[in-house]
């Protein structure tokens, strides 16, 4: 944690806001996977957080395979290769796994009562956690700080260098890692928005979400569109897992649960099924969590998030940007 800038309350507030925004972008990326799948099959995919966790563990595996084991490899060929490789491997892995789960678990239950796939999703969540536990054990594992400042070879036992501040002189602290989160998440979300708005498959996804029967009558293969939705949601979780791991530098088999709950809350807050809503919800959660933690106490930040969720849902039951549930027909 950076030292608190208590001397200047305004700067401190700005700093917390900035931290909140950056972490909110991360929640948003995961929330998109919940919201897209819900939008199209009305399933709360409770396994989504744990899919994210497996993406984190895979990213760690990539580091180990490439030989980027510690912060010492930051900036070296191995370090750069590891980051590049995990940015490909984790999204592909998570997308493929999500498609496979849809095919094997959710698709056979497509016409079953909604509770059946929901409970199955909880089951898949436990299976994923079991896999994570078996894969990397029960304790926290350090993820190499490959985007941190490189450690000079002669300073092995010295304290690690402090990352450079990209906003030096403004009173705010914004490191290269913060920038990385922004540079990965925002273009990813922009690409998703363009894809859903303008491509044929994107329009077919929206059409299927709005009326699956009519979509079939248009010649849309609904099963394929649903598989594509799981693929995209999974890939976003994969991208999120890389960014998260490189940002927080700790992974474990239980991390999917808490982050999944935040991201799911973000999706509901923004209006589940609504893509801009998920991004907005993620940012709100990130900011509330950080500000609440700073000014009220971090032990209250979760209670605060859910209190806000309850209040918003009382006044806007469909979330901040959610569509009315009944359309004119």
């Amino acid at each position: 944690m950076t030292p608190l800038l208590a001397a200047d309350p305004a700067a401190a507030f700005g700093q917390f806001l900035l931290i909140g925004l950056v972490s909110g972008l991360l929640y948003a990326l995961i929330a998109l996977g919940y919201t897209m799948v819900y939008g199209i099959v009305e399933l709360i995919n409770f396994a989504h957080g744990d899919l994210f966790m497996l993406g984190c563990l895979l990213s760690l595996e990539v580091c180990l395979l490439v030989g980027a084991r510690t912060q010492a490899e930051a900036g070296t060929a191995a370090g750069v290769a590891a980051v590049a490789l995990m940015l490909v491997a984790a999204p592909v892995f998570c997308a493929a796994l999500n498609i496979a789960v849809d095919r094997a678990v959710y698709r056979p239950l497509r016409t079953a009562p909604k509770l059946a796939p929901l409970v199955s999703a909880i089951g898949v969540s436990f299976v994923f956690m079991g896999v994570g536990l078996f894969w990397k054990g029960a304790t926290d594992v350090t993820f190499p700080d490959l985007l941190g400042p490189p450690i000079p070879p002669d300073a092995v036992n010295a304290a690690p260098p402090v990352p450079a501040n990209l906003l030096e002189g403004t009173g705010l602290r914004f490191t290269f890692k913060d920038l990385m989160v922004v540079l990965v998440t925002i273009p990813t979300m922009a690409a998703l928005t363009v894809f859903v708005r303008y491509t044929t498959l994107g329009k077919a996804m929206r059409a299927t979400a709005q009326n699956p029967t009519a979509a079939q009558l248009m010649g849309i293969n609904v099963d394929r569109v649903i598989a594509a939705t799981f693929a995209i949601g999974g890939a976003l979780a994969g991208v999120g897992s890389v960014v998260y791991s490189l940002y927080f530098n700790t992974v474990n088999y239980q991390m999917g649960f808490q982050n999944g709950v935040y991201a799911f809350t973000a999706a509901v807050l923004g209006g589940i099924g609504n893509i801009p809503g998920a991004v907005l919800g993620g940012i709100v959660i990130g900011v509330v969590k950080t500000l609440g933690g700073a000014y009220i106490g971090s032990e209250w930040s979760e209670a605060l998030i859910f209190a806000i969720l309850v209040v918003i849902l009382i006044f806007r039951p469909n979330g901040l940007l959610g569509a009315r549930t009944r359309e004119k027909v």
Binding site: Q210, A214, L217, G219, V329
Partner: protein, 239 residues
Amino acid sequence: MPPLLAVEKLEAGYGPINVLHGISLTVEPGEIVAMIGANGAGKTTTLMCLSGVVKARGGRVVFDGRDLTAEKVPAHQVVRLGLAQSPEGRKIFPRLTVLENLQMGAFTRTDADGVAADVEKAFTMFPILRERQHQAGGLLSGGQQQMLAIARALMSRPKLLLLDEPSLGLAPQIVVQIFDVIRELNRQGMSVLLVEQNARMALKVAHRGYVLETGRVTFSDRAAALLDDPRIRAAYLGE
């Protein structure tokens, strides 16, 4: 010439309930065929079965020489064979624009130029759709949504158009307008299978008609003959 559509002893239903108990009908190329009957007679189920959305439990559907039931043609392939539907309740995509709704109708096509030309044709047929092309489909009035549903179905360039209750919930002068469009489409060569509760309107526009009662065809004849039949007049034309 073989019929464009031949349905033989079609059976279908939902869960434990059978709705269709052996429906047989044909549509010849260039014909408008009306299917009339009370609520729950199985008209919509028949159309959904033809489109592959509801699975047939027995009987055959032969369309344009292809046995859809034996080949187990999935719903999303039926459109490609030339069978399009404007469904009951219109089922417009409410948050897609009018233009995007039309583009979805052409989902199976890859000829972008041809699609653009057909969008233009749809706008010529229904000028109000051109005016409102960038508005969400859900914001259109009922009559405009019906026009959009028909235009959307035509975007796949079908050989046979299935129309389910195009008059449902519309003001009388809009209904007249919709039926004029059906007549005009037919004049241009489109074959139409029309499901209607408005039996008089349907039989006036159609060449032949079928009367459905609880999943069975009880009468079938030339439309003009059905209009004159005292039993039909009493049961369906309110006389």
